[in-house]
Protein backbone atom coordinates (compact mmCIF):
# COMPACT_ATOMS: atom_id res chain seq x y z
CA UNK A 1 0.00 0.00 0.00
CA UNK A 2 1.23 3.47 -0.79
CA UNK A 3 -0.96 5.13 1.81
CA UNK A 4 0.99 7.53 3.98
CA UNK A 5 0.68 6.67 7.64
CA UNK A 6 -1.65 9.23 9.13
CA UNK A 7 -2.20 7.65 12.57
CA UNK A 8 -0.09 8.60 15.57
CA UNK A 9 -0.35 6.66 18.82
CA UNK A 10 0.73 8.28 22.09
CA UNK A 11 1.02 6.52 25.43
CA UNK A 12 1.06 8.68 28.54
CA UNK A 13 2.57 7.40 31.78
CA UNK A 14 1.65 9.06 35.04
CA UNK A 15 0.47 8.29 38.51
CA UNK A 16 -3.15 8.17 39.63
CA UNK A 17 -4.24 11.74 40.32
CA UNK A 18 -1.66 13.46 38.10
CA UNK A 19 -4.15 14.06 35.32
CA UNK A 20 -2.78 11.89 32.52
CA UNK A 21 -6.34 11.14 31.42
CA UNK A 22 -7.13 14.85 31.26
CA UNK A 23 -4.04 15.38 29.10
CA UNK A 24 -5.26 12.83 26.59
CA UNK A 25 -8.75 14.32 26.64
CA UNK A 26 -7.43 17.84 25.91
CA UNK A 27 -5.17 16.57 23.13
CA UNK A 28 -8.05 14.70 21.50
CA UNK A 29 -10.36 17.69 21.74
CA UNK A 30 -7.70 19.92 20.19
CA UNK A 31 -7.19 17.49 17.30
CA UNK A 32 -10.94 17.08 16.75
CA UNK A 33 -11.43 20.86 16.71
CA UNK A 34 -8.91 20.96 13.84
CA UNK A 35 -11.12 18.54 11.91
CA UNK A 36 -8.87 15.57 12.64
CA UNK A 37 -9.93 12.27 14.12
CA UNK A 38 -8.86 11.32 17.62
CA UNK A 39 -9.41 9.02 20.54
CA UNK A 40 -8.52 9.47 24.20
CA UNK A 41 -8.99 6.82 26.84
CA UNK A 42 -7.55 5.65 30.14
CA UNK A 43 -6.24 2.22 30.95
CA UNK A 44 -9.62 0.95 32.02
CA UNK A 45 -10.23 -0.05 35.56
CA UNK A 46 -10.14 1.11 39.15
CA UNK A 47 -7.51 3.79 39.81
CA UNK A 48 -5.52 4.35 42.96
CA UNK A 49 -3.96 7.70 43.71
CA UNK A 50 -0.20 7.48 43.25
CA UNK A 51 -0.17 4.12 41.46
CA UNK A 52 1.38 4.02 37.96
CA UNK A 53 -1.30 4.58 35.30
CA UNK A 54 -1.43 4.85 31.55
CA UNK A 55 -3.63 6.88 29.24
CA UNK A 56 -3.79 6.80 25.48
CA UNK A 57 -4.23 9.02 22.42
CA UNK A 58 -4.77 8.01 18.86
CA UNK A 59 -4.73 10.97 16.48
CA UNK A 60 -5.34 10.53 12.78
CA UNK A 61 -5.09 13.45 10.40
CA UNK A 62 -7.05 11.72 7.63
CA UNK A 63 -9.36 8.90 8.64
CA UNK A 64 -11.60 7.92 11.55
CA UNK A 65 -9.78 6.01 14.26
CA UNK A 66 -11.06 2.45 14.23
CA UNK A 67 -8.78 0.52 16.56
CA UNK A 68 -10.27 -0.05 19.99
CA UNK A 69 -7.58 -1.68 22.07
CA UNK A 70 -4.82 -0.46 24.38
CA UNK A 71 -1.77 1.04 22.69
CA UNK A 72 1.05 -1.46 23.07
CA UNK A 73 3.26 -0.18 20.23
CA UNK A 74 3.16 3.62 20.54
CA UNK A 75 4.86 6.16 18.28
CA UNK A 76 5.45 8.46 21.25
CA UNK A 77 5.72 7.97 24.98
CA UNK A 78 5.10 10.77 27.48
CA UNK A 79 6.28 10.49 31.08
CA UNK A 80 4.60 12.86 33.56
CA UNK A 81 6.50 11.65 36.59
CA UNK A 82 10.26 10.93 36.37
CA UNK A 83 10.12 8.52 39.32
CA UNK A 84 8.20 6.15 37.04
CA UNK A 85 11.38 5.52 35.06
CA UNK A 86 12.62 3.42 37.98
CA UNK A 87 9.41 1.37 38.18
CA UNK A 88 8.00 1.05 34.70
CA UNK A 89 9.56 0.11 31.38
CA UNK A 90 8.12 3.15 29.66
CA UNK A 91 9.65 2.36 26.26
CA UNK A 92 7.99 -1.07 26.12
CA UNK A 93 6.80 -1.64 22.54
CA UNK A 94 7.86 1.86 21.43
CA UNK A 95 8.18 1.84 17.65
CA UNK A 96 11.49 2.25 15.88
CA UNK A 97 11.84 5.96 15.18
CA UNK A 98 9.65 6.72 18.18
CA UNK A 99 10.69 8.94 21.05
CA UNK A 100 10.14 9.69 24.70
CA UNK A 101 9.07 13.02 26.18
CA UNK A 102 9.95 13.25 29.87
CA UNK A 103 9.26 15.66 32.69
CA UNK A 104 12.70 15.88 34.33
CA UNK A 105 15.30 18.37 35.43
CA UNK A 106 17.99 16.12 34.02
CA UNK A 107 19.36 16.25 30.47
CA UNK A 108 18.51 13.72 27.79
CA UNK A 109 22.07 12.37 28.03
CA UNK A 110 21.80 11.81 31.77
CA UNK A 111 18.39 10.17 31.49
CA UNK A 112 19.51 7.86 28.71
CA UNK A 113 22.61 6.65 30.45
CA UNK A 114 20.85 6.27 33.79
CA UNK A 115 17.89 4.24 32.46
CA UNK A 116 19.38 2.72 29.30
CA UNK A 117 16.82 4.37 27.00
CA UNK A 118 17.71 3.65 23.37
CA UNK A 119 15.32 6.19 21.85
CA UNK A 120 15.67 9.95 21.31
CA UNK A 121 14.48 11.86 24.35
CA UNK A 122 12.84 15.27 24.77
CA UNK A 123 13.14 16.79 28.22
CA UNK A 124 11.40 19.61 30.04
CA UNK A 125 11.41 20.60 33.69
CA UNK A 126 7.62 20.61 33.95
CA UNK A 127 7.68 20.41 37.75
CA UNK A 128 9.43 23.80 37.90
CA UNK A 129 7.09 25.34 35.32
CA UNK A 130 3.97 24.03 37.03
CA UNK A 131 5.14 25.19 40.45
CA UNK A 132 5.95 28.69 39.19
CA UNK A 133 2.97 29.13 36.85
CA UNK A 134 0.19 27.14 38.48
CA UNK A 135 1.41 27.06 42.05
CA UNK A 136 0.77 23.32 42.23
CA UNK A 137 2.78 20.30 41.23
CA UNK A 138 0.36 19.04 38.58
CA UNK A 139 2.13 18.83 35.24
CA UNK A 140 -0.44 17.33 32.89
CA UNK A 141 -1.33 20.57 31.09
CA UNK A 142 2.29 21.78 31.14
CA UNK A 143 3.45 18.60 29.42
CA UNK A 144 0.98 19.16 26.59
CA UNK A 145 3.17 22.11 25.51
CA UNK A 146 6.21 19.84 25.32
CA UNK A 147 4.32 17.18 23.40
CA UNK A 148 2.99 19.66 20.86
CA UNK A 149 6.42 21.19 20.30
CA UNK A 150 8.06 17.79 19.92
CA UNK A 151 5.40 16.28 17.66
CA UNK A 152 3.59 19.14 15.93
CA UNK A 153 0.59 16.86 16.05
CA UNK A 154 -1.83 19.71 16.82
CA UNK A 155 -1.46 23.48 16.95
CA UNK A 156 -0.95 24.77 20.47
CA UNK A 157 -3.66 27.36 19.87
CA UNK A 158 -6.11 24.48 19.41
CA UNK A 159 -5.67 23.53 23.07
CA UNK A 160 -6.66 26.99 24.35
CA UNK A 161 -10.41 26.46 24.08
CA UNK A 162 -10.40 22.97 25.64
CA UNK A 163 -8.18 24.28 28.48
CA UNK A 164 -10.48 27.24 29.11
CA UNK A 165 -13.54 25.03 29.03
CA UNK A 166 -11.98 22.55 31.41
CA UNK A 167 -10.38 24.94 33.92
CA UNK A 168 -12.59 28.03 33.69
CA UNK A 169 -10.83 30.98 35.33
CA UNK A 170 -7.70 28.87 35.80
CA UNK A 171 -7.59 28.27 32.05
CA UNK A 172 -5.23 31.14 31.38
CA UNK A 173 -2.64 29.94 33.90
CA UNK A 174 -2.74 26.48 32.36
CA UNK A 175 -2.28 28.01 28.92
CA UNK A 176 0.76 29.89 30.24
CA UNK A 177 2.23 26.71 31.71
CA UNK A 178 1.71 24.93 28.40
CA UNK A 179 3.28 27.83 26.47
CA UNK A 180 6.33 27.87 28.77
CA UNK A 181 6.90 24.15 28.30
CA UNK A 182 6.49 24.64 24.55
CA UNK A 183 9.36 27.16 24.68
CA UNK A 184 11.61 25.33 27.11
CA UNK A 185 11.42 21.71 25.99
CA UNK A 186 14.78 20.40 24.73
CA UNK A 187 14.32 18.02 21.84
CA UNK A 188 17.11 15.63 20.99
CA UNK A 189 17.91 15.15 17.30
CA UNK A 190 16.56 11.91 15.83
Amino acid sequence: MTKVKSLTEIRWHGRGGQGAVTSTELMAQAAISEGKYAQAFPSFGPERRGAPVQAFNRIDSQAPVKIRADITEPDIVVVLDPSLLEKVNVTSGLKKGGYVIINTRKTAKEIKSEFGIKYPVATVNANKIARETLGVLIVNTTMIGAVIKATGIVKKESVYAPLEKRFGRLGERNINAMETAYKEVVIEEQ
Binding site: M1, T24, E25, A28, Q29, A31, I32, S33, Y37, A38, Q39, A40, F41, P42, F44, G45, P46, P64, V65, K66, I67, R68, A69, D70, T72, P162
Partner: protein
Protein backbone atom coordinates in the same frame (compact mmCIF):
# COMPACT_ATOMS: atom_id res chain seq x y z
CA UNK B 1 -26.18 22.52 11.34
CA UNK B 2 -24.79 19.63 13.28
CA UNK B 3 -21.88 20.26 15.62
CA UNK B 4 -18.88 17.96 15.83
CA UNK B 5 -17.19 17.76 19.21
CA UNK B 6 -14.62 15.67 21.05
CA UNK B 7 -16.58 14.17 23.92
CA UNK B 8 -16.68 11.12 26.16
CA UNK B 9 -19.22 8.65 24.79
CA UNK B 10 -21.09 8.39 28.13
CA UNK B 11 -21.54 12.16 28.27
CA UNK B 12 -22.62 12.12 24.63
CA UNK B 13 -25.29 9.52 25.42
CA UNK B 14 -26.64 11.69 28.24
CA UNK B 15 -26.71 14.65 25.85
CA UNK B 16 -28.53 12.53 23.27
CA UNK B 17 -31.10 11.58 25.90
CA UNK B 18 -31.51 15.28 26.64
CA UNK B 19 -32.12 15.92 22.93
CA UNK B 20 -34.91 13.33 23.11
CA UNK B 21 -36.44 15.37 25.95
CA UNK B 22 -37.53 12.60 28.36
CA UNK B 23 -39.97 13.18 31.19
CA UNK B 24 -38.46 10.71 33.63
CA UNK B 25 -35.01 9.26 34.24
CA UNK B 26 -34.82 6.62 36.98
CA UNK B 27 -31.43 4.99 37.37
CA UNK B 28 -28.89 3.58 39.77
CA UNK B 29 -25.19 4.13 39.05
CA UNK B 30 -22.95 1.17 38.29
CA UNK B 31 -19.57 0.91 36.58
CA UNK B 32 -19.13 1.43 33.62
CA UNK B 33 -22.51 3.11 33.10
CA UNK B 34 -21.96 5.69 35.87
CA UNK B 35 -21.01 8.73 33.77
CA UNK B 36 -24.20 8.45 31.73
CA UNK B 37 -26.55 8.77 34.69
CA UNK B 38 -24.29 11.19 36.60
CA UNK B 39 -24.40 13.57 33.67
CA UNK B 40 -28.16 13.19 33.32
CA UNK B 41 -28.58 13.94 37.03
CA UNK B 42 -26.39 17.00 36.53
CA UNK B 43 -28.44 18.20 33.55
CA UNK B 44 -31.65 17.87 35.55
CA UNK B 45 -30.14 19.54 38.65
CA UNK B 46 -28.83 22.45 36.54
CA UNK B 47 -32.23 22.96 35.00
CA UNK B 48 -30.92 22.12 31.52
CA UNK B 49 -33.20 19.13 31.25
CA UNK B 50 -36.79 19.46 32.36
CA UNK B 51 -37.31 15.91 33.61
CA UNK B 52 -37.93 14.07 36.83
CA UNK B 53 -34.73 12.35 37.95
CA UNK B 54 -35.56 9.56 40.40
CA UNK B 55 -32.47 8.50 42.37
CA UNK B 56 -33.65 5.02 43.29
CA UNK B 57 -32.04 2.62 45.78
CA UNK B 58 -31.37 -0.25 43.36
CA UNK B 59 -31.68 -1.32 39.74
CA UNK B 60 -34.75 -3.35 40.58
CA UNK B 61 -36.34 -0.13 41.80
CA UNK B 62 -35.02 1.77 38.78
CA UNK B 63 -36.87 -0.47 36.35
CA UNK B 64 -39.95 -0.58 38.61
CA UNK B 65 -40.07 3.22 38.60
CA UNK B 66 -39.63 3.19 34.82
CA UNK B 67 -42.56 0.80 34.43
CA UNK B 68 -44.77 3.13 36.46
CA UNK B 69 -43.70 6.27 34.68
CA UNK B 70 -44.01 4.73 31.21
CA UNK B 71 -47.47 3.38 32.12
CA UNK B 72 -48.45 6.91 33.11
CA UNK B 73 -47.45 7.98 29.61
CA UNK B 74 -44.12 9.62 30.41
CA UNK B 75 -41.12 9.35 28.07
CA UNK B 76 -38.74 7.29 30.20
CA UNK B 77 -35.03 6.51 30.16
CA UNK B 78 -32.70 4.41 32.27
CA UNK B 79 -29.25 2.86 31.98
CA UNK B 80 -27.42 0.04 33.68
CA UNK B 81 -24.76 -2.64 33.30
CA UNK B 82 -23.86 -6.17 34.32
CA UNK B 83 -24.90 -6.95 37.93
CA UNK B 84 -27.30 -4.04 37.79
CA UNK B 85 -29.04 -5.56 34.80
CA UNK B 86 -29.04 -8.92 36.58
CA UNK B 87 -30.67 -7.42 39.68
CA UNK B 88 -33.19 -5.68 37.43
CA UNK B 89 -33.97 -8.84 35.50
CA UNK B 90 -37.31 -9.71 37.11
CA UNK B 91 -38.84 -6.40 36.11
CA UNK B 92 -37.06 -6.12 32.76
CA UNK B 93 -39.35 -8.93 31.58
CA UNK B 94 -42.46 -6.95 32.49
CA UNK B 95 -41.94 -3.97 30.17
CA UNK B 96 -42.42 -5.67 26.79
CA UNK B 97 -45.71 -7.55 27.36
CA UNK B 98 -47.10 -4.41 29.00
CA UNK B 99 -46.12 -2.52 25.82
CA UNK B 100 -44.14 0.13 27.70
CA UNK B 101 -41.56 1.85 25.47
CA UNK B 102 -38.83 2.42 28.07
CA UNK B 103 -35.41 3.19 26.58
CA UNK B 104 -32.37 1.73 28.32
CA UNK B 105 -28.66 2.03 27.58
CA UNK B 106 -26.68 -1.01 28.70
CA UNK B 107 -22.93 -0.45 29.17
CA UNK B 108 -21.98 -4.06 28.54
CA UNK B 109 -19.87 -5.61 31.25
CA UNK B 110 -19.05 -9.13 32.39
CA UNK B 111 -21.21 -10.83 35.03
CA UNK B 112 -19.67 -12.09 38.29
CA UNK B 113 -18.00 -14.26 39.54
CA UNK B 114 -15.11 -13.55 39.56
CA UNK B 115 -15.84 -9.85 39.81
CA UNK B 116 -14.96 -8.01 36.62
CA UNK B 117 -15.86 -4.45 35.75
CA UNK B 118 -14.69 -4.87 32.15
CA UNK B 119 -16.56 -5.46 28.95
CA UNK B 120 -18.06 -8.59 27.54
CA UNK B 121 -21.55 -9.51 26.41
CA UNK B 122 -22.64 -11.88 29.18
CA UNK B 123 -25.05 -9.23 30.51
CA UNK B 124 -26.50 -8.72 27.02
CA UNK B 125 -27.07 -12.45 26.67
CA UNK B 126 -28.76 -12.62 30.10
CA UNK B 127 -31.65 -10.48 28.79
CA UNK B 128 -31.95 -12.10 25.38
CA UNK B 129 -35.49 -13.33 25.88
CA UNK B 130 -36.96 -10.37 27.76
CA UNK B 131 -38.84 -9.21 24.68
CA UNK B 132 -37.00 -5.90 24.35
CA UNK B 133 -35.88 -4.62 20.99
CA UNK B 134 -32.07 -4.67 21.22
CA UNK B 135 -29.68 -2.57 19.17
CA UNK B 136 -25.90 -2.96 19.41
CA UNK B 137 -23.79 0.17 18.84
CA UNK B 138 -20.20 0.07 17.72
CA UNK B 139 -18.92 3.62 18.29
CA UNK B 140 -19.96 6.82 20.02
CA UNK B 141 -21.77 8.23 17.01
CA UNK B 142 -23.87 5.10 16.73
CA UNK B 143 -24.76 5.38 20.43
CA UNK B 144 -26.01 8.94 20.02
CA UNK B 145 -27.90 8.18 16.81
CA UNK B 146 -29.47 5.01 18.14
CA UNK B 147 -30.56 6.51 21.46
CA UNK B 148 -32.55 9.05 19.46
CA UNK B 149 -33.84 6.36 17.08
CA UNK B 150 -34.73 4.08 20.01
CA UNK B 151 -37.34 6.53 21.32
CA UNK B 152 -38.96 6.82 17.91
CA UNK B 153 -38.93 3.05 17.35
CA UNK B 154 -40.27 2.18 20.79
CA UNK B 155 -42.98 4.84 20.75
CA UNK B 156 -44.28 4.01 17.29
CA UNK B 157 -47.93 2.93 17.72
CA UNK B 158 -47.23 -0.20 15.68
CA UNK B 159 -44.44 -1.13 18.11
CA UNK B 160 -44.89 0.18 21.68
CA UNK B 161 -42.01 -1.87 23.00
CA UNK B 162 -39.02 -1.13 25.22
CA UNK B 163 -35.67 -0.74 23.48
CA UNK B 164 -32.15 -1.43 24.74
CA UNK B 165 -29.13 0.19 23.19
CA UNK B 166 -26.06 -1.89 24.01
CA UNK B 167 -22.64 -0.32 24.08
CA UNK B 168 -19.37 -1.84 25.20
CA UNK B 169 -18.38 -0.80 28.71
CA UNK B 170 -15.10 1.17 28.88
CA UNK B 171 -14.22 0.44 25.23
CA UNK B 172 -16.99 2.90 24.38
CA UNK B 173 -18.27 4.45 27.60
CA UNK B 174 -14.91 5.88 28.65
CA UNK B 175 -13.51 6.93 25.27
CA UNK B 176 -13.34 10.52 24.06
CA UNK B 177 -13.93 10.69 20.33
CA UNK B 178 -15.48 12.96 17.68
CA UNK B 179 -19.26 12.89 17.67
CA UNK B 180 -21.70 14.90 15.62
CA UNK B 181 -24.76 16.20 17.44
CA UNK B 182 -27.93 17.05 15.59
CA UNK B 183 -29.67 20.33 16.37
CA UNK B 184 -32.45 20.26 18.98
CA UNK B 185 -34.94 21.62 16.43
CA UNK B 186 -34.08 18.80 14.02
CA UNK B 187 -34.47 16.16 16.73
CA UNK B 188 -37.81 17.71 17.72
CA UNK B 189 -38.98 17.27 14.13
CA UNK B 190 -37.72 13.69 14.00
CA UNK B 191 -39.10 12.76 17.41
CA UNK B 192 -42.50 14.37 18.00
CA UNK B 193 -43.90 14.60 21.56
CA UNK B 194 -44.88 11.23 22.92
CA UNK B 195 -48.47 10.24 23.45
CA UNK B 196 -49.08 6.84 25.02
CA UNK B 197 -52.46 5.54 23.83
CA UNK B 198 -53.74 4.25 27.16
CA UNK B 199 -51.97 5.92 30.08
CA UNK B 200 -52.79 5.23 33.71
CA UNK B 201 -55.35 7.78 34.73
CA UNK B 202 -57.46 7.77 37.92
CA UNK B 203 -60.38 9.24 35.99
CA UNK B 204 -60.24 6.49 33.43
CA UNK B 205 -58.94 3.42 35.24
CA UNK B 206 -57.34 0.56 33.29
CA UNK B 207 -55.69 -2.67 34.41
CA UNK B 208 -52.25 -3.44 32.92
CA UNK B 209 -50.09 -6.56 33.11
CA UNK B 210 -52.99 -8.45 34.59
CA UNK B 211 -53.28 -12.04 35.79
CA UNK B 212 -53.54 -14.52 32.90
CA UNK B 213 -54.91 -18.04 33.46
CA UNK B 214 -53.95 -20.83 31.00
CA UNK B 215 -56.93 -20.04 28.78
CA UNK B 216 -55.41 -16.71 27.70
CA UNK B 217 -51.67 -16.85 28.52
CA UNK B 218 -50.52 -18.45 25.25
CA UNK B 219 -52.52 -15.90 23.26
CA UNK B 220 -50.94 -12.96 25.07
CA UNK B 221 -47.45 -14.38 24.57
CA UNK B 222 -48.08 -15.07 20.88
CA UNK B 223 -49.36 -11.53 20.46
CA UNK B 224 -46.16 -10.29 22.10
CA UNK B 225 -44.04 -12.40 19.75
CA UNK B 226 -45.92 -11.22 16.65
CA UNK B 227 -45.54 -7.68 17.91
CA UNK B 228 -41.73 -7.80 18.20
CA UNK B 229 -41.34 -9.71 14.94
CA UNK B 230 -43.36 -7.00 13.19
CA UNK B 231 -41.25 -4.27 14.79
CA UNK B 232 -38.31 -5.12 12.52
CA UNK B 233 -39.96 -3.30 9.67
CA UNK B 234 -40.39 -0.20 11.82
CA UNK B 235 -36.78 -0.34 13.04
CA UNK B 236 -35.58 -0.20 9.44
CA UNK B 237 -38.11 2.48 8.59
CA UNK B 238 -36.90 4.68 11.46
CA UNK B 239 -33.27 4.14 10.45
CA UNK B 240 -34.15 5.19 6.89
CA UNK B 241 -35.89 8.31 8.17
CA UNK B 242 -32.92 9.06 10.42
CA UNK B 243 -30.65 8.84 7.42
CA UNK B 244 -32.87 11.23 5.49
CA UNK B 245 -32.79 13.71 8.37
CA UNK B 246 -29.20 13.34 9.55
CA UNK B 247 -27.25 11.51 6.86
CA UNK B 248 -26.25 8.35 8.67
CA UNK B 249 -27.79 5.03 7.72
CA UNK B 250 -28.07 1.91 9.83
CA UNK B 251 -29.01 -1.64 8.86
CA UNK B 252 -29.92 -4.72 10.94
CA UNK B 253 -26.86 -6.45 9.48
CA UNK B 254 -24.11 -4.13 8.28
CA UNK B 255 -21.69 -5.21 5.60
CA UNK B 256 -18.01 -4.46 5.13
CA UNK B 257 -16.36 -6.00 2.06
CA UNK B 258 -18.71 -8.94 2.60
CA UNK B 259 -20.55 -8.99 -0.74
CA UNK B 260 -19.20 -11.98 -2.62
CA UNK B 261 -16.49 -12.70 -0.01
CA UNK B 262 -15.68 -16.37 0.57
CA UNK B 263 -14.82 -15.91 4.24
CA UNK B 264 -16.89 -13.60 6.40
CA UNK B 265 -16.29 -12.59 10.02
CA UNK B 266 -19.30 -11.63 12.13
CA UNK B 267 -18.91 -9.30 15.12
CA UNK B 268 -21.03 -7.50 17.70
CA UNK B 269 -20.06 -4.25 19.41
CA UNK B 270 -16.95 -2.07 19.48
CA UNK B 271 -14.52 -4.86 18.51
CA UNK B 272 -16.15 -4.66 15.10
CA UNK B 273 -14.16 -1.51 14.40
CA UNK B 274 -10.84 -3.12 15.32
CA UNK B 275 -11.84 -6.15 13.24
CA UNK B 276 -12.63 -3.90 10.28
CA UNK B 277 -9.01 -2.70 10.25
CA UNK B 278 -7.84 -6.32 10.09
CA UNK B 279 -10.32 -7.03 7.27
CA UNK B 280 -9.13 -3.94 5.36
CA UNK B 281 -5.53 -5.13 5.65
CA UNK B 282 -6.43 -8.64 4.51
CA UNK B 283 -8.45 -7.35 1.55
CA UNK B 284 -5.48 -5.14 0.60
CA UNK B 285 -3.34 -8.30 0.74
CA UNK B 286 -5.69 -9.81 -1.84
CA UNK B 287 -7.55 -12.14 0.51
CA UNK B 288 -11.17 -12.99 -0.18
CA UNK B 289 -12.56 -11.90 3.20
CA UNK B 290 -15.26 -9.61 4.53
CA UNK B 291 -17.12 -8.70 7.67
CA UNK B 292 -20.68 -8.33 8.86
CA UNK B 293 -21.79 -6.59 12.03
CA UNK B 294 -24.95 -7.41 13.91
CA UNK B 295 -26.60 -4.06 14.62
CA UNK B 296 -30.04 -5.45 15.52
CA UNK B 297 -29.94 -8.32 17.98
CA UNK B 298 -33.68 -8.50 18.76
CA UNK B 299 -35.75 -9.01 16.70
CA UNK B 300 -33.12 -11.22 15.07
CA UNK B 301 -32.57 -10.25 11.42
CA UNK B 302 -32.79 -13.73 9.88
CA UNK B 303 -33.40 -12.74 6.25
CA UNK B 304 -30.81 -9.98 6.29
CA UNK B 305 -28.22 -12.35 7.75
CA UNK B 306 -28.93 -15.04 5.15
CA UNK B 307 -28.76 -12.49 2.36
CA UNK B 308 -25.53 -10.92 3.65
CA UNK B 309 -23.56 -14.18 3.50
CA UNK B 310 -25.30 -15.87 0.59
CA UNK B 311 -22.02 -16.22 -1.30
CA UNK B 312 -19.84 -17.07 1.69
CA UNK B 313 -18.28 -20.48 2.19
CA UNK B 314 -17.15 -19.75 5.73
CA UNK B 315 -18.82 -17.65 8.40
CA UNK B 316 -16.77 -17.05 11.54
CA UNK B 317 -18.83 -15.75 14.47
CA UNK B 318 -17.08 -14.04 17.37
CA UNK B 319 -19.06 -14.10 20.61
CA UNK B 320 -18.03 -12.14 23.71
CA UNK B 321 -19.88 -14.49 26.05
CA UNK B 322 -19.99 -18.18 26.92
CA UNK B 323 -23.22 -20.13 27.02
CA UNK B 324 -22.07 -22.48 29.80
CA UNK B 325 -22.63 -26.08 28.87
CA UNK B 326 -24.14 -24.97 25.59
CA UNK B 327 -23.27 -25.95 22.03
CA UNK B 328 -21.13 -22.90 21.11
CA UNK B 329 -21.08 -19.12 21.47
CA UNK B 330 -24.63 -17.81 22.11
CA UNK B 331 -24.90 -15.73 18.93
CA UNK B 332 -23.16 -18.42 16.86
CA UNK B 333 -25.80 -20.82 18.12
CA UNK B 334 -28.55 -18.68 16.62
CA UNK B 335 -26.59 -18.17 13.43
CA UNK B 336 -26.28 -21.94 13.03
CA UNK B 337 -30.02 -22.31 13.59
CA UNK B 338 -30.64 -19.63 10.96
CA UNK B 339 -28.80 -21.67 8.34
CA UNK B 340 -29.51 -25.29 9.28
CA UNK B 341 -32.47 -25.76 6.93
CA UNK B 342 -31.09 -23.57 4.14
CA UNK B 343 -30.23 -25.39 0.90
CA UNK B 344 -26.97 -23.46 0.63
CA UNK B 345 -25.15 -22.52 3.78
CA UNK B 346 -21.67 -21.52 4.86
CA UNK B 347 -19.58 -23.53 7.29
CA UNK B 348 -20.10 -21.75 10.58
CA UNK B 349 -17.15 -21.54 12.96
CA UNK B 350 -17.78 -20.27 16.48
CA UNK B 351 -15.15 -18.32 18.41
CA UNK B 352 -15.50 -16.93 21.91
CA UNK B 353 -13.11 -14.15 22.91
CA UNK B 354 -12.72 -10.74 24.48
CA UNK B 355 -14.13 -11.92 27.81
CA UNK B 356 -13.98 -9.61 30.84
CA UNK B 357 -12.28 -6.78 28.93
CA UNK B 358 -9.51 -8.69 27.22
CA UNK B 359 -8.46 -6.80 24.11
CA UNK B 360 -8.50 -8.42 20.71
CA UNK B 361 -6.01 -6.55 18.55
CA UNK B 362 -5.90 -6.11 14.77
CA UNK B 363 -3.35 -8.93 14.63
CA UNK B 364 -5.70 -10.97 16.81
CA UNK B 365 -8.54 -10.60 14.33
CA UNK B 366 -6.27 -11.58 11.43
CA UNK B 367 -5.41 -14.64 13.45
CA UNK B 368 -9.08 -15.46 14.18
CA UNK B 369 -9.94 -15.24 10.47
CA UNK B 370 -6.95 -17.40 9.57
CA UNK B 371 -7.69 -20.02 12.22
CA UNK B 372 -11.42 -19.99 11.41
CA UNK B 373 -10.75 -20.52 7.71
CA UNK B 374 -8.46 -23.43 8.52
CA UNK B 375 -10.99 -25.01 10.90
CA UNK B 376 -13.72 -24.75 8.25
CA UNK B 377 -11.45 -26.79 5.96
CA UNK B 378 -10.07 -29.38 8.37
CA UNK B 379 -12.61 -29.45 11.18
CA UNK B 380 -11.78 -29.14 14.87
CA UNK B 381 -11.88 -31.37 17.91
CA UNK B 382 -13.77 -28.55 19.69
CA UNK B 383 -17.41 -27.55 19.32
CA UNK B 384 -16.14 -23.97 19.46
CA UNK B 385 -12.83 -22.19 19.88
CA UNK B 386 -11.93 -19.97 22.79
CA UNK B 387 -9.53 -17.37 21.50
CA UNK B 388 -6.26 -16.66 23.25
CA UNK B 389 -6.94 -18.67 26.39
CA UNK B 390 -3.99 -19.93 28.46
CA UNK B 391 -4.42 -23.56 29.47
Amino acid sequence: MATRVGIEVSIAIADAVKLANPDVVAAYPITPQTHIVEHLAELVANGELDAEYIPVESEHSAMSACLGSAAAGARTFTATASQGLALMNEVVYVAAPMRLPIIMAVANRALSAPLSIWCDHSDMMSVRDTGWIQIIAENGQQCVDNIICAFRIGEDKRVLLPVMVHLDGFNLTHVIEPIEFPEQSEVDKFLPPYKFPLPLNPDNPVAMGDFAPPVIFTETKWAQEKNIQASKKVVSEVWDKYNKAFGRQYYPVEKHHSDGAKVVLMTMGAVGETASVAIDEMVADGQDVGQIRLRLWRPFPLEELREAVKDAEVLIVLDRAISYGGPCGPVASEVKAAFYDQPKRPKIVSFVGGLGGRDITVAGFRDIVKQGTEIARTGSKNEYEIYGVRE
